[in-house]
Structures are given as structure tokens and as C-alpha cells.
């Protein structure tokens, strides 16, 4: 039980001062949580507390859901698609205007390098919002010819209140992937941000108000998964739940959603393979592979954490990958110089988890080519949650580090001989989020791509997503697709109408 001011006056390392809201954002207002419970948010680059914000309890979730339900009934479902679109485009414009502010908050709270990473996230944020703003008046049903006695048509209706739970690795991007299509399709929202990274979403709430969204349409709460997340997943007035995060939590949510048969979208873990054939442009393959595992400190659900390399170029690739880390993936503080590419992991817990996997890898016989430890040699970085970019080689399919998602800057390299073997290795996983392959041979590229069990395949690139192209997994990597037109289908339900024009009984 702590009383917090409505705003903290914060000054970030780059000199940017602003008012950080602390409350739960319900009905277009920041309010304290009912029980006055709070969570501390930590700067992962030095382990120091940034500030506290209010954390939602089950009761707060109930208030937020009722506000969203009320807004759905009274305003939002009567707001035309054109008007919904205008609001989203307006919000996009405001986010673009505030790029530097939002990026700075993202950098302090999640540890993303300001220049090389956080700013790009804001670009994604406003692009996604603008894109779905364009869809809002284009969600169309069909008329279906049956016979002269019947007019049959479908309407793609919104669900109503959507619960959305987002992770800490891309706080604002994931927010945009969630709220963009949901609002475009006409739903109202209760979104829970990750407890590690609540700040940017709260700041964005100011822009939601400025854009002119009616009260109750967008509700954003900070809070813990087992408390607020759980309340959201089981709430009877929430008709749809969307979650991005770990596969284990995804399973809990899917189970909880069965309480009132919520529709469920899950975007969960991955252990995505990157297959490099000997005819590949090696230099490009190395660069994309590095990008795919070391960008965002490896905290990417689609990271290419398993790299399969055809034998003749196996060691050469690994050597070049290390060279690439040394030259292009400079570790440093989020507000360090503009060339810093790799920041800290988001939390102590994540750092420990990654280090534990590194130890397991070593014990199971994998060889460390570079990295494999937490950063201690630099006095400043030693305070933060930094892990050295790590290459394991001679990894075999039985090893834990081949199988389990590490969610850090740790890559496993595995040699293969034939196309068939590569496909078998690539598909030997419970996950199926993404896959990538490098080959100059158009025939082989397309043939292998077809065989890969994944929701996304990148040919001659990796982690090269685009907001217009669907994103999501097969197998235990998820249910449903985000982004693109497909992303809208998660947020509408089809109602079929039959109009009898003359059939008599």
C-alpha cells in the first residue's frame, strides 16, 4: 500500500524530462489502483529503480473491463469505421511527433539502445497504427448467392471487450500490434503491459486522449501476470484474449480462456532455424544471422537461435559470425553513443536464466566459440544485466540449448550435409514460429521453404518482418496471425444473415 503521485518528474540520461504517469489508465483517466499496490520498474542498464507505478488487482481489472464494455455499448460500436480510422491515424501522427520521447522511455525501461533500436520501434508503432487506421473502414462482409428466395450475407462484427497481454521485449510495438487491429475492427480494449516495462504504454495513454478516443475504448493497466493477467483471462465480460509471451504462459491463458470460451490469439515462443546452404552469399548470411540473434539482445520470439550450416562452410561461417559480432554488435548503455547495438537483458531474472542455459550447454558438450559469460570486465556495464553475445558450435539435437528457447544473445550452430538433413533438423522442434534460409538457388530456396514448419519463412534474410505481412506461429508457437489483413481476422467474428424472401412452409 503506497500512495504515489499522479506523475513522477523524470529526467532521462539523454536530458529528456517528462511527467511519467503512474496510474492505471481507465476511462481516459489515470487512477490509482484500488488497493494501492505498486510495482517498481528497474533500469536494466544499471539495476537501479526508475520509479513505481500502480499495479492492477483483480478488482481493478473488473473496473477496467466494465469501462471497456460500457464504451463498446455506448460509443464505440456506433462509431463508423471511417471515424475509427481517423482516430488511429491521428494517434499514429502523434506517436510520430513524439518519436524521441517515446523512444527514450522505451530505452530507459527496457534497455534498448536509443539510437539503433528504440527509435526503430517507434517507427513500427506509428506505421502499424496508420496501417490499421486504413483498414478500419475496409472490414467488409460478403453477400453470398444462394437462390432467389434468399438474401444471404455476412458481417464481420467486433467481439466487444478484448483483453490483451503484451511482453517486455517490444513494449510499444507489441502494443500497436494488439490495439491497431482490435480498434480498427471496432473492439474496445483492456491491455496489460509487462510488469518489467510499464512506462511507455502509460505515456502513450496521453496521446490516446489527445487523439480524441472516447473514454473507455482504450484501457491500459500495469500489473503482474498472475494477478492482472489472470483476472483478464478469466473475466466473463472479456470476449477475446490476445497474448504474446512464453509458450508456458500461453497454455495457462488458453486454459483460463475456456472459462467463457473466449476467442484466443497466442503468439508464443520459438526456436527458429536459419539454414545456410553452401551456395549462399556468405557475407550476407552472416550479417542477417547476427542480426537475427543479437539484435534486441536476442530477446525476440523469432530470433534465429539455431543456425544450421552446410558442412563445407561450417567453420568459416562461425568465424565470420564472430567477426561480425566484434565489428557490428557493440555492447553498451542504451543512452551510450549512437553506435551501441546491444543493450542489457531486460531483467536480472532473464540474465540469470540465460547464464544458466550457457552453463547447461557447456555441460552437455557444446563448445563455446565466443562469449558465454556475463559482462564483468567493464565497470559500468557490470552493474547492468549484460550478457556477452555467445556462439555455441557442435551443438547436437539432443542438447537442451538446441531444444529450449533461451531468449537471449545465444546462438547454436549445427552442421548438416544434405537438404533432407537440414529440413529434418530445422523441423525437429516443438515450435514453429519462423524459419530462414540462405541460398542463391531459386529452386532449392522455394523447395526447402515449402518443407519448413513455420509461420514465416525468410528467404535470404532473417527477422525481416513487415507490418503488412502476417506474423504468427505453427505448432506450439501460437494460434492466429498478427499484422496484415490477417491480423484483423483475430478481432472480428462472422455473423451470417439469412433473409427469407419468399420461401413458404
Amino acid at each position: 500500500m503506497t500512495e504515489l503521485p499522479e506523475f513522477h518528474e523524470l529526467t532521462l540520461p539523454n536530458g529528456f524530462s517528462y511527467k511519467q504517469p503512474t496510474g492505471l489508465f481507465i476511462n481516459n483517466k489515470f487512477v490509482p489502483s484500488i488497493k494501492k499496490e505498486t510495482i517498481d520498474t528497474i533500469d536494466p542498464s544499471n539495476g537501479e529503480k526508475i520509479c513505481s507505478v500502480y499495479a492492477a488487482s483483480e478488482e481493478d481489472v473488473d473496473v477496467a473491463v466494465k469501462a471497456a464494455k460500457d464504451a463498446f455499448k455506448t460509443t464505440w460500436r456506433h462509431t463508423s469505421g471511417s471515424d475509427r480510422g481517423r482516430l488511429l491515424v491521428k494517434l499514429s501522427e502523434l506517436c510520430e511527433r513524439d518519436t524521441d520521447k517515446l523512444a527514450a522511455i522505451e530505452a530507459i525501461d527496457s534497455g534498448k539502445p536509443f539510437e539503433q533500436n528504440a527509435k526503430g520501434d517507434i517507427g513500427e508503432l506509428y506505421n502499424v497504427l496508420r496501417y490499421y487506421g486504413g483498414w478500419a473502414d475496409k472490414v467488409h462482409g460478403q453477400t453470398i448467392p444462394v437462390d432467389d428466395n434468399k438474401l444471404a450475407y455476412t458481417v464481420h462484427e467486433p467481439y466487444g471487450v478484448c483483453g490483451q497481454i503484451i511482453p517486455w521485449n517490444y513494449p510499444l510495438c507489441m502494443l500497436s500490434w494488439k490495439i491497431g487491429p482490435a480498434l480498427a475492427a471496432g473492439n474496445t480494449i483492456v491491455l496489460k503491459s509487462a510488469e518489467q516495462t510499464p512506462l511507455s504504454a502509460l505515456y502513450l495513454c496521453n496521446l490516446v486522449v489527445e487523439a480524441g478516443f472516447p473514454a473507455g475504448v482504450v484501457n491500459i493497466i500495469s500489473g503482474l501476470g498472475p494477478v492482472a493477467g489472470s483476472a483478464l483471462s478469466t473475466h466473463p465480460l472479456v470476449s477475446k484474449i490476445a497474448f504474446t509471451g512464453s509458450t508456458a504462459v500461453g497454455q495457462i491463458i488458453q486454459k483460463a480462456a475456456s472459462s467463457n470460451m473466449k476467442a484466443v490469439t497466442l503468439e508464443t515462443g520459438g526456436k527458429s532455424p536459419l539454414v545456410i546452404f553452401e551456395d549462399a552469399n556468405l557475407e550476407q548470411a552472416v550479417k542477417w544471422a547476427a542480426f537475427g540473434i543479437f539484435f534486441n539482445s536476442g530477446q525476440v520470439c523469432t530470433s534465429n537461435s539455431r543456425v544450421l550450416i552446410q558442412e563445407p562452410i561450417y567453420m568459416k561461417f562461425i568465424e565470420k559470425l564472430k567477426e561480425c559480432i566484434d565489428s557490428d554488435y557493440k555492447q553498451g548503455l542504451p543512452f551510450g553513443d549512437d553506435t551501441v547495438m546491444v543493450g542489457p537483458q531486460v531483467s536480472k531474472q532473464q540474465q540469470d536464466r540465460i547464464l544458466k542455459y550457457i552453463e547447461i550447454g557447456k555441460k552437455e558438450g557444446a563448445k563455446v566459440f565466443t562469449g558465454g559469460y556475463k559482462v564483468t570486465d567493464d565497470e559500468v556495464l557490470a552493474k547492468g544485466y549484460f550478457v556477452k553475445p555467445t556462439i555455441f558450435y557442435d551443438v547436437t539435437p539432443e542438447m537442451t540449448i538446441f531444444k529450449e528457447e533461451i531468449f537471449g544473445p545465444v546462438v547454436s550452430c549445427i552442421p548438416f550435409k544434405t537438404e533432407e538433413e537440414a529440413i529434418e533438423l530445422a523441423n525437429d522442434t516443438l515450435y514453429g514460429l519462423a524459419a530462414a534460409l540462405f541460398s542463391k538457388d531459386i529452386t532449392r530456396a522455394h523447395k526447402v521453404a515449402r518443407e519448413l514448419e513455420a509461420g514465416m519463412v525468410w528467404i535470404n534474410s532473417s527477422n525481416d518482418s513487415d507490418f503488412r505481412v502476417p506474423f504468427g506461429g505453427v505448432k506450439m508457437s501460437g494460434i492466429g496471425r498478427e499484422l496484415g489483413e490477417y491480423g484483423l481476422t483475430n478481432y472480428t467474428q462472422t455473423k451470417a444473415y439469412h433473409v427469407n424472401l419468399g420461401l413458404k412452409l
Binding site: 480510422g85 491515424v89 486504413g134 475496409k138 522455394h446 523447395k447 515449402r450 433473409v499 424472401l501
Partner: protein
């Protein structure tokens, strides 16, 4: 009669008394204009090529007059063939630059900006439209709002133009892309100068084409004014080019230009036919046409008569009847015929006709003297044919092209006033008894643009709607547009559709790509 059919809908501008093309090379590239509502603005007068206003090569100008006062507003430069060639070259160059190849979301972004700018300048644009076209401010404001909405909707489409992945088995990888056509020629009419501009440029730009557009010679002002906004929005030079000028010169050159890949025209059926021929003879341009109509507006006995009458009025007197889809043939079921005609007459006589800048005016001026004369000549024809003039049929005042809302009743289906498009506030009312009889009468037209149905019976509404030959059917409403609902005609009312997802088809061509990926499989 090629030349005369290329006069589009405004032969008035060829009246040698009123309109004399002059050499007027010292015309400045913009002139200050004070609108009757007090707004003062700078009106560009040049051709808009490569994001700059320029004099025409031959420095000719023509006069633009205000139809509500018959006074000159200004001159603007008149494009000729050589100007078209320059504009097409600019558009071609722009097409082959980043406009076609850049991230389509960038096209969306500038179109969103353009929509915002139109809204920001809404009152000025509405005033220009009223001054230049004669339409009431009430109508003009609606046009501006619809234009902004449509541009915004197109902005959203820009990055949603999909091809398909066509599954043909594992031996091949087959897909299609929808690519822009290139330079599009667009010729728009004078009845909705800004709105037709938006219907044309919106989908063409969203899909990555570049444009040479000719506004109507009677109403070039708003298209020139918004050209400034096109530039301000960040649309690159050469993407949008605007050439005021005459149909038989500029329109003809656009229709026949070898580097124009597509022509879109809104106007009369006669001109549409000529353009299609020109497109065929020159380089087989793709053609979209939105042409004339003689649309039936039907009232069943079970309809809410009061609402039906108000929809009939919106159907025929909105925009002074200068609407291609105007509900110019009203069909009323016999049991309520007299009642409807009486109510229609009374309501029509209450409509305020006059100064377009008067806030209470419903109906402004017709756009030109020739239109006025044409309409009045149809009044005479109707009388001679034996139709009963219920109300109207006269010009109002001496100055300005105003005409009373006019109703003819007791008409026969073979009368010219029932068959021919008049394009003014003049309507015929026919009687029917059965649905079959009605369908026969309603469909007995060379046109097929729109139709209206008024009934509370859901089955009848849908059954009749299914049986009507029309590209748009309004049920218990009329002239009720939305940017996402396609618009276009059956029969001789046109080819292609504007607005909605359908409009994008007019501006893209499909490329199919088929890659053999397994040489071992057949």
C-alpha cells in the same frame, strides 16, 4: 461530329458571344479572389505541371464565369496539345521514379496529409466550388467533406493492394502482383468539380500511377487550388498534373496520347463513346467511363410517403439536378399516385432557390447558360408532348442561371422527357400498378446508373432491387454515397466502378509470375 461530341457537357463554353479565347500572356499566375462570403484567397491560374504553375505554351487564356451572377471571376491559362505533351512527359518521368517503386505506405502517408489539408481548407474550397459551379454552399460543403473522406480512404488502400499466391502444386511457385498502369489521363465534369477530382486521383495515386487531369472548362478553379495542397502534402513533382482546357483540344489529345496508358472519364455518354473510340484507335488505352443516366426512383404504396417525397427531392433537386445518377424518372404506385404528386409539388415549391452563398439556399444556379437553355427547351418539349406541368418550368430572374424545380406528371414512357437525360432540376412522374409493369418501365432505358426504391416491404425491396438494371440501388434513400461503396453504371452508363475496393481494379494490371521450382516434376 467528333468536335461537337467532345464538348462534353458544357457546350456553353463554345458560345462565341460569352466565351472568347484570348491571347492574354500577361495574366499573372495567381490572382486574389474575394468570395461572396468574405474569404479572400489566391487563385492559381496556370497549368499545374511538375508541381509548378506555368503559363500555357501558347499563352492563351479563357474566361471563368460565375453562373449565379454571369460575371467573370477570372481568366485561367488554357492548355493545348503541346502542353499535354509536356505534362505527359512529366508524368511519365515521375512514374518511372520512386513513386512506383517506393514503399506504398509512403503514398498512403502523403494522401493522408492531402486529406487533412483539404479539410483544413474546407471553407475556402466550398466557397470556390459555389462561386465557380453555382451550387449552394450546402451542397459544396458536402462535396468537400466527401472528397476528404475519399482521399483518406484511398490513403488507407495504398499499402493494401494485393496480388495472390496461387497454389498449383509443389512443382511451381505461382503468384500475381497488381501493378500500376503508368500515366493515366483523367477528364472530369463540371457538376462536382472537386469530388470528381478526388474520385479520379485517389485510386490512381493509391495504386502508384501518375496523372494528367483535365478539369471541366466551366469549373477549373478548385482543381487548381487543390494543386497547391497536392504539393504541400508532399506528392512528388510530376505525379499530378492539372490542365484546364477544352475537351476537343486537351481532352482529345489526352485520349489519343501514345504515352497515356489509361483514360478515365466522367461526363456524357456521347463523349464517353468518342473517348473509347479514341482510346482504341490510338494505343488501346484501358478505359473507365462514368456516363449519363435516367435513373428511376420508385415509390410503392406501402412506403412512408413523407420520407419518400423527401428522398425524391434529394434525388432530383440536389445539386440543381446536375447529378449523373439523379432520380429523374419517378414511378409511383397508382393507389398513392395523386397523394405523392401533391406532396411532391408542395415540398418542391418550398425549396429555396437562389444565391448559393445564402446559408438557407437549397438549390443554386445551373452551371451555364447553355445548360439553362437546354433545360428550358426540355420544358417546352414536355409541354408539347402533352405531359402535365405540375410546378416550375421557368427561369428565375434575369441574372444568373436559376431555374425553378420542375415536375411533369402524367407522362408517357415514350416521351423524350422520360427517355433523355436533361441534367437539371426537372423530373417526370409516371404511374404503375404491378411490380412486373414497373420493372419493365424502369428498365426500359439505354442507361443503367442508379435506381431508388421506397417501400417498407423487405421482400419487395430486395426482389425489385435484384431485377433492376442499375449499378447502384438505393432503398429508402437516394444520392447517398459512401467512399467504400462502389459507384458506376450498367448499360450505356459506363464501364468500371469508382470508389470502394473496386475502383482500385481500374488502376492496376495483373502480372502473373510462375516459377518452376522442381525441375524433376512435370
Amino acid at each position: 461530329m467528333l468536335a461537337s461530341s467532345l464538348r462534353f457537357k458544357k457546350p456553353a463554353l463554345f458560345n462565341p458571344v460569352l466565351y472568347v479565347a484570348r491571347f492574354y500572356s500577361h495574366l499573372p499566375l495567381s490572382v486574389p479572389i474575394k468570395l461572396p462570403n468574405g474569404i479572400v484567397y489566391e487563385q492559381p491560374t496556370g497549368l499545374f505541371i511538375n508541381n509548378e504553375f506555368v503559363p500555357s505554351r501558347q499563352s492563351k487564356t479563357f474566361e471563368v464565369i460565375s453562373p449565379s451572377t454571369e460575371e467573370e471571376i477570372t481568366h485561367v491559362y488554357e492548355a493545348r496539345e503541346d502542353d499535354v505533351d509536356i505534362a505527359v512527359e512529366a508524368a511519365k518521368k515521375a512514374f518511372n521514379s520512386t513513386w512506383k517503386t517506393a514503399d506504398p505506405a509512403e503514398r498512403g502517408k502523403v494522401l493522408y496529409k492531402l486529406a487533412n489539408l483539404i479539410e483544413k481548407n474546407a471553407e475556402t474550397l466550398a466557397g470556390i466550388e459555389s462561386l465557380d459551379n453555382g451550387k449552394s454552399l450546402f451542397c459544396a460543403r458536402g462535396d468537400v467533406a466527401l472528397s476528404a473522406n475519399y482521399i483518406r480512404s484511398c490513403a488507407g488502400w495504398a499499402d493494401k493492394i494485393y496480388g495472390r499466391l496461387i497454389e498449383t502444386g509443389s512443382s511451381h511457385f505461382s503468384y500475381s502482383r497488381r501493378e500500376p498502369l503508368g500515366v493515366c489521363g483523367q477528364i472530369i465534369p463540371w457538376n462536382f468539380p472537386l469530388l470528381m477530382w478526388s474520385w479520379k486521383i485517389g485510386p490512381a495515386l493509391a495504386t502508384g500511377n501518375t496523372i494528367v487531369l483535365k478539369p471541366a472548362e466551366a469549373t477549373p478553379l478548385s482543381a487548381l487550388y487543390v494543386s497547391q495542397l497536392v504539393k504541400e502534402a508532399g506528392i512528388p513533382a510530376g505525379v499530378v498534373n492539372i490542365l484546364p482546357g477544352y475537351g476537343k483540344i486537351v481532352g482529345e489529345r489526352i485520349s489519343r496520347h501514345p504515352n497515356i496508358k489509361k483514360i478515365a472519364f466522367t461526363g456524357s455518354t456521347a463523349t464517353g463513346r468518342h473517348i473509347m473510340k479514341a482510346a482504341a484507335e490510338s494505343n488501346l488505352k484501358k478505359v473507365t467511363l462514368e456516363l449519363g443516366g435516367k435513373s428511376p426512383n420508385i415509390v410503392f404504396a406501402d412506403a412512408d410517403i413523407e420520407k419518400a417525397v423527401s428522398n425524391i427531392i434529394m434525388g432530383i433537386f440536389y445539386n440543381s439536378g446536375e447529378v449523373c445518377c439523379a432520380g429523374s424518372r419517378v414511378y409511383v404506385q397508382d393507389t398513392v399516385y395523386d397523394k405523392v404528386v401533391q406532396a411532391f409539388k408542395e415540398s418542391s415549391e418550398k425549396l429555396k432557390v437562389g444565391n448559393p452563398f445564402d446559408e438557407s439556399t437549397f438549390q443554386g444556379a445551373q452551371t451555364s447558360q447553355v445548360q439553362l437553355e437546354k433545360i428550358l427547351s426540355y420544358v417546352d418539349i414536355g409541354k408539347k408532348e402533352g405531359a402535365k406541368l405540375v410546378t416550375g418550368g421557368e427561369r428565375i430572374g434575369e441574372k444568373g442561371f436559376f431555374i425553378k424545380p420542375t415536375i411533369f406528371a402524367d407522362v408517357k414512357e415514350d416521351m423524350r422527357i422520360v427517355k433523355e437525360e436533361i441534367f437539371g432540376p426537372i423530373v417526370t412522374v409516371s404511374k404503375f400498378s404491378t411490380v412486373d409493369e414497373l420493372i419493365e418501365m424502369a428498365n426500359d432505358s439505354e442507361y443503367g446508373l442508379a435506381a431508388g426504391i421506397h417501400t417498407i416491404d423487405i421482400n419487395k425491396a430486395i426482389d425489385v432491387s435484384n431485377r433492376l438494371t442499375a449499378g447502384t440501388v438505393w432503398i429508402n434513400t437516394y444520392n447517398d454515397f459512401h467512399q467504400n461503396v462502389p459507384f458506376g453504371g450498367f448499360n450505356q452508363s459506363g464501364i468500371g466502378r469508382e470508389m470502394g475496393a473496386e475502383a482500385l481494379d481500374n488502376y492496376t494490371q495483373v502480372k502473373a509470375v510462375r516459377i518452376k521450382i522442381d525441375p524433376k516434376q512435370v
